[in-house]
Symmetry: C2
């Protein structure tokens, strides 16, 4: 028998309890052993819950119970979750987490701690909800040198952008709708300003390139400034606006990582990823491009990924699994300033002014454009070069174009 | 050191040699040991090959060398490949295969043999080329009861259909083009008649539902009868024609599995899978829908999957991995006759005749339709019901519609 303790009985924690219970028979068959939910840690009371006998309020009950093999951390944040994860690993228990903030900020030290104690620290659910991404990266694509990772990593912002594109809602209207539907939090900062996507690209970059990438090293821009005018211009030339997290391998073992809204060409499968769906595209030197697609959040999809990690550990209790990366360093991450790409710009300057500043621009049109508004796609250049060339021009919008 | 022998130096075999050599350093880091290419078995001579020192012509050299840990079988077919795989497993060597025919017809017995000898039989490359599918199914989605699998599993037919849709080529013209580009064989039967897709859906169904599904149990229809008229009518109502392999869980532990061209709604991500790309969509009871997308064939993508299996074995030499399924049985697979769906039909009957036979049909139009041609989408019904209702009508085309 493999005994599991869940920390935190919120959306994900209760989903994990539900999947462990509902699919108990098949999980037992796949593990060749019963996987038993022994404890749920929560400060609240849940009278009448089918798991009532499991609840405890004191973490040390779990910590000191030698029967507990796996601790599932779904508390979130990087304070108490860090403390409990550290104590669980030190107590010789494997930990499974859906907590991207904790992994992105303390992943290296927790992986080291797991290694020292001969246990596992797994976090498939921290990126892409239920979509299998991390294990495919580290196992199924292990024969590849990775060149780049590009992801639609946040369902809330993808929902907002989809509603702007499909229904012509403004950012504020679409955000309100997302909040009403429960897709966005009351304080939507972590989502709309790109912090959530940033944590996820840090985890993907660390696994792909082998060194910890810290969120504060990754330039991050959200979608607050994307307007319906930009959506319309993008549509006019065959692009969709998507918030992308990107990590690109550089010469000399460095990584260019950043989060920003992009114009994505409609031929790219990422352009077709709508609503709250997520997708991660990976380029390897043998496999070429592969893409993983599905629901990036939600109770049961996220629980599906958590329980897969539990099963992985349960099959082979004390094995140290392949999630590993190095400590990271200050000069690991380079700014996207080095990347050459085409740019979408919207300005008050004339096409002639833009052409004399940037060369052969591609002018764009939209119905209902006010007089004096110009939009175009520039030839490929870096962002500093673009800024210098347009230093005399008032920029209303500026978005990087993802090349095909 | 982990020693590898490759059987067959064709496209896939030479790709495996190339990936093992090119990415040797990173593979060594990921395995924590050198993975060494020791033998290549081929009846031909390859003078001047960088692997010249590896070639042998006699399988017993490999069979009897206790240093060989992993045998990579890329011979294809189910005769000599079966013999060598059997002998390798009996000699205590793990086997990695890209051979879907062998796995689909003899997978159960070979998995049993591997188990008896404490070694592994892995075949990630047999489905979807380089796209990670089989391990994500069995590991990352292990917490799920699977409801259905739907895949675009054959790159050649998807290329042909894409060229019919995008460039207006007839089936014959598109097939010729695919042959000229090396995407289709001189004898294209295995691809265009659906046999290749059939083998792959058998493997996916066996892994998902736990019992061997044999190709001769799976009704299989290819794309020879798809016309440009059908493509145009499908387009007029927001659908793309795709060859799908499907496996759907039924009550009582049965599986409905079949291969047939379908009308796929454009909102479904499978509709956007073009050219030689493959994609597999999986529905689990916790995760919902996830999709895996990438190049389904080709030298290096396929080699990427083969080498991932080699790495998996090399990390943990004698472990019996999780590919396992039961022996299958005659009454396991049920016919798609039980499935209710809408149908696309093209006939010489009038809309009124169709309406009186089938109820509220949705008439379709295309430019250049000859007089007397009618096409429509029917209300949902089974295929036997459709046939009975239209028994008096000459059917020019009939395709199942994938529901959204």
């Amino acid at each position: 028998m493999v005994n599991v303790a869940i920390l935190g009985f919120g959306t994900v924690g209760s989903g994990v309890a539900e999947v462990l219970t509902t699919n108990s028979d098949l999980i037992g068959r796949r593990v060749d052993e019963l996987v038993n939910l022994k404890y749920i840690l929560d400060v609240r009371d849940f009278p009448g819950s089918p798991y009532e006998h499991c609840f405890v309020k004191d973490f040390s009950v779990i910590e000191q119970d030698p029967e507990v093999d796996v601790v599932v951390e779904t508390i979130g944040g990087a304070t108490i979750a860090l403390e409990f994860t550290t104590r669980a690993l030190k107590a010789g228990k494997s930990v499974v987490s859906s907590n991207k903030e904790l992994v992105a900020t303390h992943g290296y030290e927790l992986l080291q701690l797991a290694r020292e104690h001969g246990v596992s620290y797994l976090f498939e659910a921290s990126v892409g909800g239920g979509i299998p991404i991390l294990r495919p990266l580290t196992a199924c694509l292990a024969a590849n040198e990775f060149d780049q990772i590009t992801g639609i990593l946040n369902g809330t912002t993808n929902y907002i952008l989809t509603r702007m594109i499909r229904a012509g809602l403004t950012f504020e209207q679409a955000l309100k709708e997302a909040q009403d539907k429960g897709y966005a939090e009351k304080d939507p900062t972590a989502d709309v300003d790109g912090h959530d996507a940033c944590r996820k690209i840090c985890i993907l970059a660390a696994l792909s390139f082998g060194e910890h990438v810290y969120p504060n090293q990754v330039p991050t821009e959200g979608i607050r400034n994307v307007t319906l005018a930009d959506v319309a211009y993008a549509d006019s030339c065959g692009y969709k606006i998507k918030l992308l997290g990107r990590a690109i391998r550089q010469e000399g073992g460095k990584v260019c990582a950043f989060v920003a809204p992009h114009l994505v060409p409609c031929e790219n499968p990422l352009a077709g990823v709508e609503d709250v769906f997520n997708a991660v595209s990976v380029t390897g030197n043998a496999v070429g491009d592969v893409m993983f697609y599905g629901r990036g959040a939600g109770k049961l999809p996220t629980a599906s990924a958590v329980v897969a990690d539990v099963i992985d550990i349960a099959k082979d209790k004390k094995r140290d699994h392949h999630n590993q990366w190095g400590p990271g360093r200050e000069d690991l991450v380079v700014s996207p300033d080095i990347l050459t790409s085409r740019w979408y710009i919207r300005t008050t300057a004339s096409v002639e002014q833009l052409r004399s500043a940037c060369g052969e621009v591609q002018p764009l049109a939209r119905s209902g454009a006010p007089a004096g508004e110009t939009a175009c796609l520039t030839p490929p250049m870096t962002e500093p070069e673009l800024k210098e060339r347009l230093s005399h021009v008032e920029l209303l919008s500026k978005l990087r174009v993802l090349s095909e």
